[in-house]
C-alpha cells in the first residue's frame, strides 16, 4: 500500500519538474540579460572573438530547442553544467556547498514555528475569546501581515545592533566552523563535541530563523485553533470525557490528532511561501544558502545555476507535499482505505 502511495505521487513529480524547468528555461533565455557579459564584467577589455568563443564554449549559440534538449538530457544525468557566475565551477558542486545551510535554516525555522504554534493554537482553542485567545489571534494576524524582509531588519536593529545579543549575518563565527560531516553545522558541532561552534551556529540561526518562522507560525496557529474548536465540539470528545479520561488526554490525544489533519494540509499548501520567504530572508541576513545563491544567480543571468536551484525548489515542494500526504494518512485512517 505504501509503495503504491509513494509511487503514484513520485510519478506526478515528473510532469511538474518538466513544466517548471521549461518555464524557467524559457524565461531566462527570452530575457535580454547576457550571461557572457556578466561573466566577463570585470575582466577588462575583451575582444568580440573572445566573447563568441565563450558563447560557443557554453553552447549558447545553438538554437533554443537544442539547448533545452541538451539541458534535459544532462539534467537527467544530474549534470547541470558549469556555473557562469562561479568561475565555471560545476553547478552541482556549487549547489551542494550551499544546500546544507538552507536546509539547516529552514529546519530550524520550521521547528520553532511548530513548537510555538501548535501548543498556542491548542491553548487558544480551549477558551475561545478568552484573554490568551485574543492575544494569540492578534499575534497571528500580525504574523501574516508583516513583510518578512522588514521583520528581519527590525530584528536586526533591536537584537543585533541595539542590544547586541545576536549576530546579524553569516552562518557561524569565522574560524569556529566544525569539520564538515553532514554540512549541518549544528550536527557537526555536536559530533565534534565543540560547544563553542554549536553556540555560535545557534546564535546565527536565531534571527533569520525567527523572521522565517513568523508567518508560518501564524498560519499554523490559526489553523490549529480553528480545527480544535471544531473538533472539541464533536460527540466523540464528549464520549471520551464520559469515559472518565483526564482532560489532558482528551485534548492531547483524542482532539489533537483530528485537528492536525487539516493543519497538515494547509502547511503543505504553503510550502511555496516558505521557500520564497527563505530567499528573501537569506538575502536580508547575507546568509550563505541556496536562497541567496538563487537571487544572485538570477541577477547574473547564470542559467545553469538558476535551473538547478529552481529544480531543487520544485522537488522540495513536491516532496514536502508527499510528506504531508503521508502524514495525513498516518493521522487519518479513513484516508488509508482509499
Amino acid at each position: 500500500m505504501w509503495g503504491r502511495f509513494f509511487g503514484q505521487r513520485l510519478l506526478q513529480l515528473i510532469p511538474v519538474l518538466l513544466g517548471v524547468s521549461f518555464i524557467v528555461f524559457l524565461t531566462m533565455h527570452l530575457t535580454p540579460g547576457d550571461p557572457i557579459e556578466h561573466m566577463l564584467g570585470q575582466a577588462g577589455r575583451i575582444t568580440q572573438e573572445q566573447i563568441d568563443e565563450l558563447r560557443a564554449h557554453y553552447g549558447l549559440d545553438r538554437p533554443l530547442a537544442v539547448q533545452y534538449g541538451l539541458f534535459l538530457r544532462n539534467a537527467a544525468a544530474g549534470n547541470f553544467g558549469p556555473s557562469y557566475s562561479h568561475q565555471g565551477r560545476d553547478v552541482g558542486v556549487v549547489v551542494a556547498a550551499r544546500l546544507p545551510a538552507t536546509l539547516e535554516l529552514t529546519l530550524f525555522a520550521f521547528v520553532i514555528a511548530i513548537l510555538f504554534a501548535i501548543p498556542a493554537g491548542v491553548i487558544a482553542s480551549l477558551r475561545p475569546q478568552g484573554a490568551f485567545d485574543r492575544t494569540a489571534t492578534v499575534a497571528a494576524l500580525l504574523g501574516i501581515s508583516v513583510p518578512g524582509f522588514w521583520l528581519g531588519i527590525v530584528l536586526m536593529i533591536i537584537f543585533g545592533l541595539r542590544l547586541g545579543w545576536l549576530p546579524i549575518s553569516g552562518r557561524i563565527q569565522l574560524g569556529l566552523a566544525p569539520p564538515p560531516v553532514t554540512g549541518l553545522n549544528t550536527l557537526d558541532a555536536l559530533l565534534a563535541g565543540n560547544a563553542a561552534a554549536l553556540w555560535s551556529t545557534v546564535k546565527h540561526l536565531v534571527l533569520p530563523g525567527l523572521a522565517m518562522a513568523a508567518p508560518m507560525a501564524a498560519m499554523v496557529m490559526r489553523m490549529v485553533r480553528s480545527s480544535m474548536i471544531g473538533v472539541l465540539a464533536q460527540d466523540y470528545i464528549q464520549f471520551a470525557r464520559a469515559k472518565g479520561l483526564p482532560e489532558m488526554t482528551v485534548v492531547g490525544k483524542h482532539a489533537l490528532r483530528n485537528a492536525l489533519i487539516p493543519t497538515v494540509n494547509i502547511v503543505a499548501l504553503q510550502t511555496g511561501l516558505l521557500l520564497s520567504g527563505n530567499m528573501i530572508i537569506e538575502t536580508v541576513f547575507q546568509y550563505p544558502g541556496l536562497g541567496k545563491l538563487a537571487v544572485d544567480a538570477i541577477a547574473a543571468a547564470d542559467y545553469p545555476l538558476v535551473q538547478a536551484v529552481v529544480l531543487i525548489y520544485a522537488v522540495s515542494y513536491v516532496l514536502l507535499n508527499l510528506g504531508a500526504d503521508a502524514l495525513h494518512a498516518v493521522l487519518d485512517p479513513r484516508v488509508r482505505a482509499a
Partner: protein, 333 residues
C-alpha cells in the same frame, strides 16, 4: 428497602444564551433503584439529554448546573471534585450516546478506545487489557472479535459501532448505565438487537439503566418505570404498565395518542397541537397550558407542582390533587 442507587433532587441546569437564560433542566426529581430501568421520555429539546449530562457533570459552558442534588449510592455527585467524578465516569457510571459514528474517535482504533477505558480505571493493562477487550467484544455479539479489535470506526457498520460503544461502556463494570437514545440512529432490526443486548446486560450484571428516548415502544418493552419530561420539567412519573394503561397528564395522553396501535387501525392518530414553548421566555403558568386540551383558567396563572398519586406515581397537573396528602414539593414557577 435499601437505599436507591440514584436519587436526583431538584436538579437545575441553565444555559446562558445571547437572548437570555435558558432553564434546560428545571427542578427535576428522579430515582433509580439498583437493577431497575427508568425511561426518561419526551420530545427533542425537552431537556432529557441535558439531565443525563448533568448527572455525569459533563455540562460545559455556556451551560452550568444551577442547583439541586444528585445522590449516587449515598454521595452527592454535585459536591464531588473533578478528579472524583473522573473516577466515577466510565467506572461506576457509564454513558452511551446516540450516534455511534460520531461518538467513536475516527482516528483511533477500537482496541485503543477500549483499552484506554480499562487502563484508566485500573482494570487491566497491556496484553491483559487487549484480551479483556476481545472478551468484551465477543460478549457484545461481535463476530471475529480478535480481528475487529484492530479496526477503525469507519470500517464498522452502525450496529457494530453501537456494540463497541456498549462494550466500552460496560468494560469497567458500571452499576448505572445512562443510555441517551441508544437506538435512534439505527434501523428497526438493529434496534431490536441492541435492546436485546441491553436486556441481557441488565440481567447478567444487575445494571441499573437510565434510558433516554422518545420511542414509546422501547419504553413499554424494556423499562420498569418511566418519567415524562416536558420543557425542562418532569410532568409525570409512574411504573410503565400504569403509565401506558392509565396516563394521567394530558401531555402523556397526547403522546400515546400519537403512537399507532397494532391491530387497531381504527384508532386515529392525533398529533398534539402547537409547539414547545420558547424556553427563554416561558409562559407564567403551566408550561403545557398553551397546548393542553383540558386547560383551565388556573393553569395559566400559576404553574402546578409535582404531587404524589400513589406509590411511585406523581403528576404535575391541576387536574389531580395529591392522594389525600399535601406532600407536594415546591416546583419552580
Amino acid at each position: 428497602m435499601s437505599r436507591p442507587l440514584l436519587q436526583v433532587r431538584e436538579l437545575s441546569t441553565q444555559f446562558s444564551t445571547y437572548r437570555g437564560t435558558l432553564p434546560a433542566v428545571d427542578g427535576v426529581d428522579l430515582t433509580i433503584e439498583r437493577g431497575e430501568t427508568l425511561a426518561l421520555v419526551g420530545e427533542s429539546g425537552c431537556g432529557k439529554s441535558v439531565t443525563a449530562l448533568s448527572i455525569m457533570r459533563l455540562v460545559r459552558r455556556p451551560g452550568r448546573i444551577a442547583g439541586g442534588e444528585v445522590w449516587f449510592d449515598g454521595e452527592d455527585l454535585l459536591r464531588k471534585s473533578q478528579a472524583e467524578m473522573r473516577e466515577l465516569r466510565g467506572g461506576r457510571i457509564a454513558m452511551v450516546f446516540q450516534d455511534p459514528l460520531s461518538t467513536l474517535n475516527p482516528t483511533l482504533s477500537v482496541e485503543n478506545q477500549i483499552v484506554e477505558s480499562l487502563q484508566i480505571h485500573g482494570f487491566a493493562r497491556g496484553r491483559a487489557a487487549r484480551a479483556r477487550g476481545v472478551e468484551l467484544l465477543e460478549a457484545m455479539g461481535i463476530p471475529a472479535a480478535r480481528e475487529r479489535l484492530h479496526s477503525y470506526p469507519h470500517e464498522l457498520s452502525g450496529g457494530m459501532r453501537q456494540r463497541v460503544m456498549l462494550a466500552i461502556a460496560v468494560s469497567c463494570e458500571p452499576e448505572l448505565l445512562i443510555a441517551d437514545e441508544p437506538t435512534t440512529a439505527l434501523d428497526v432490526t438493529l434496534q431490536a438487537q441492541i435492546m436485546d443486548l441491553l436486556a441481557r446486560l441488565k440481567e447478567e450484571r444487575r445494571l441499573a439503566i437510565l434510558l433516554i428516548t422518545h420511542d414509546l415502544g422501547i419504553v413499554s418493552q424494556f423499562s420498569d418505570r418511566a418519567a415524562v419530561m416536558y420543557a425542562g420539567q418532569i410532568v409525570e412519573q409512574a411504573p410503565v404498565g400504569d403509565l401506558l394503561e392509565e396516563p394521567l397528564h394530558p401531555y402523556t395522553r397526547g403522546l400515546l395518542r400519537c403512537v399507532p396501535r397494532v391491530g387497531r387501525p381504527d384508532i386515529p392518530l392525533t398529533p398534539i397541537e402547537g409547539s414547545v414553548p420558547d424556553m427563554v421566555s416561558l409562559p407564567r403558568g403551566c408550561r403545557f397550558a398553551p397546548r393542553c386540551p383540558e386547560v383551565m383558567d388556573r393553569c395559566r396563572e400559576a404553574a402546578p407542582a409535582l404531587c404524589d398519586r400513589g406509590p411511585e406515581r406523581s403528576v404535575r397537573c391541576y387536574l389531580y390533587r395529591a392522594a389525600g396528602q399535601t406532600a407536594a414539593r415546591q416546583g419552580s414557577a
